[in-house]
């Protein structure tokens, strides 16, 4: 059956979404390529993917109405309220190793992820 996640607190007890400085650097680089050097980041979840829920990342100039704004390492994260329930406690990292490059959601609410890692269930 469908389960709503219990919002997870990170190790410091904070119920928020964090982004590492390395990930912020890469966001800024992507923004520069896209001609949006000062762009911030919209983080969201949408239905779909093998495990049911998929992460969404997009550059954004400003928050939409009713979006929560989180300041992290000089970057603003915009998160809608429903997505926030599924993302609270998440750390967004950037991995650049030989096994694959890209942003990685370290989400304590995710109970399972699909093989390719793009979707999760709670």
């Amino acid at each position: 059956m469908l389960n709503k996640p219990l919002a997870q607190r990170d190790k410091s007890g904070s119920l928020t979404i964090t982004i590492t400085s390395d990930a912020v650097t890469h966001i800024r680089q992507f923004g520069k390529v896209d001609g949006k050097e000062k762009a911030n980041l919209r983080v969201a979840v949408k239905g779909g993917g093998c495990s049911g829920l998929t992460y969404v990342l997009e550059l954004a100039d400003q928050p939409n109405e009713n979006e929560k704004v989180i300041n992290e390492n000089g970057l603003e994260l915009y998160v809608d309220k429903k997505s926030y329930i599924f993302l609270a406690g998440t750390t967004l990292e950037y991995h650049g190793g030989l096994n694959g490059k890209g942003f990685v959601f370290n989400n304590p609410n995710a109970k399972t992820t699909c093989g390719c890692g793009t979707s999760f269930s709670v």
Binding site: L2, A44, V45, K46, G47, G48, G49, C50, S51, G52, L53, T54, D80, K82, S83, T112, C114, G115, T118, S119, S121
Partner: protein
């Protein structure tokens, strides 16, 4: 007891059913309207079939599956110009709406549960169904599978009434459904019944249940439920293996690719009193899910999920033999 591989199901020509025009009012289905730019995309991401290329007036069946690849329900999706008419089992509607709500985040979607224009459906099937439509509505209809068309006719109370005819072909024979209001469908049944050139058979729920069981057609909740996956239920034709990710896709694709499907829905002919479990040497080999009336074509026919290792894959129907 053993399952013998020689029973090939009921010969529908012998049964004479398809020589008639069968009308069955679908009591157990609900039809909701879904509007919004993101509606089809969301349904596509949640269900097994490829809905992305569906054009207005086209219909497709798709299956809502859990993350474990088990069936929630078989959905009927009809795309109209301004909305989607989603058909599902009445008893599964609440679960389906909860499912859609759970997976809706920022999408632009509006669901109208008590929409009135297409609140009910009349199933029409048999070899002469199209001819009945043509004679009744003065048409020359050639409606291929998955297509639909609007038809207007003179009804008793409302003057010209509009109905929607869809060729769904879910069942083995051509199968049409007419969507409209309940009152118009009642008038339509009366109108069809007066056509003396046709052998009209008004099929009640019990008769339809016998028909669908003898044709190995699964329904919610007896065969379509969260204990089994679509491959076990014989619904592979409603799965797209090219569309990319949807909820449950990884499990279903793996089961198919590695031939790991455990059970198969089969038709069984038996005179035995078997209520639920099928056993062999005290080992459970299957589960009876539904059965026909007594003495339906000289026997009782049952649908059962049976472990594939006890079956010959080339057969869909079996007869139970008692072994001394």
């Amino acid at each position: 007891m053993w399952l013998r591989n020689f029973f090939f199901g009921i010969d529908m020509n012998e049964s004479n059913i398809l020589n008639k025009v069968n009308l069955h009012y679908l009591n157990h289905y609900s039809y909701v309207s879904i509007k919004g730019d993101d509606a089809m995309g969301l349904l596509d991401r949640l269900t097994t079939n490829d809905l992305s290329s569906l054009k207005p007036m086209e219909h497709i069946y798709t299956i809502l599956t859990s993350t474990k690849g088990k069936m929630i329900d078989l959905l009927s999706v009809l795309k109209l110009e301004d909305q989607i008419i989603l058909g599902c089992s009445k008893d599964a509607l609440k679960t389906i709406l909860e499912w859609i709500d759970f997976y809706t985040f920022g999408e632009e979607i509006e669901i109208v549960i008590d929409q009135k224009n297409y609140e009910s459906s009349l199933m029409v099937f048999g070899d002469n169904a199209v001819e009945l439509f043509n004679k009744t509505f003065d048409l020359d209809m050639s409606l291929i599978e998955g297509k639909s068309m609007y038809v207007a006719f003179n009804s008793n109370s409302d003057g010209r009434s509009k109905i929607l005819i869809i060729n769904k072909k879910y069942y083995h024979a051509d199968h049409y459904e007419i969507y409209s209001t309940t009152s118009i469908l009642v008038q339509l049944i009366q109108l069809f019944s007066k056509k003396e050139d046709f052998d009209i058979n008004l099929m009640n729920d019990k008769e339809f249940n016998d028909y669908r069981i003898s044709n190995n057609i699964p329904v919610y909740p007896s065969e379509i439920n969260e204990s089994y996956n679509p491959l076990e239920a014989g619904l592979k034709k409603y799965i797209s293996f090219n569309k990319g990710c949807y909820v449950g896709q990884e499990v279903i694709t793996r089961l198919d690719s590695y031939a790991k499907v455990q059970n198969k829905l089969v038709l069984i002919k038996t005179d035995n009193e078997i209520e639920t479990d099928l056993t062999f040497n005290d080992v459970k080999i299957g589960q009876i899910t539904s059965h026909t009336s007594e003495n339906y074509f000289n026997g009782v026919y049952k649908l059962a999920y049976v472990k594939k290792k006890f079956l010959n894959d080339n057969y869909d129907s079996f007869e139970i033999q008692n072994i001394e």
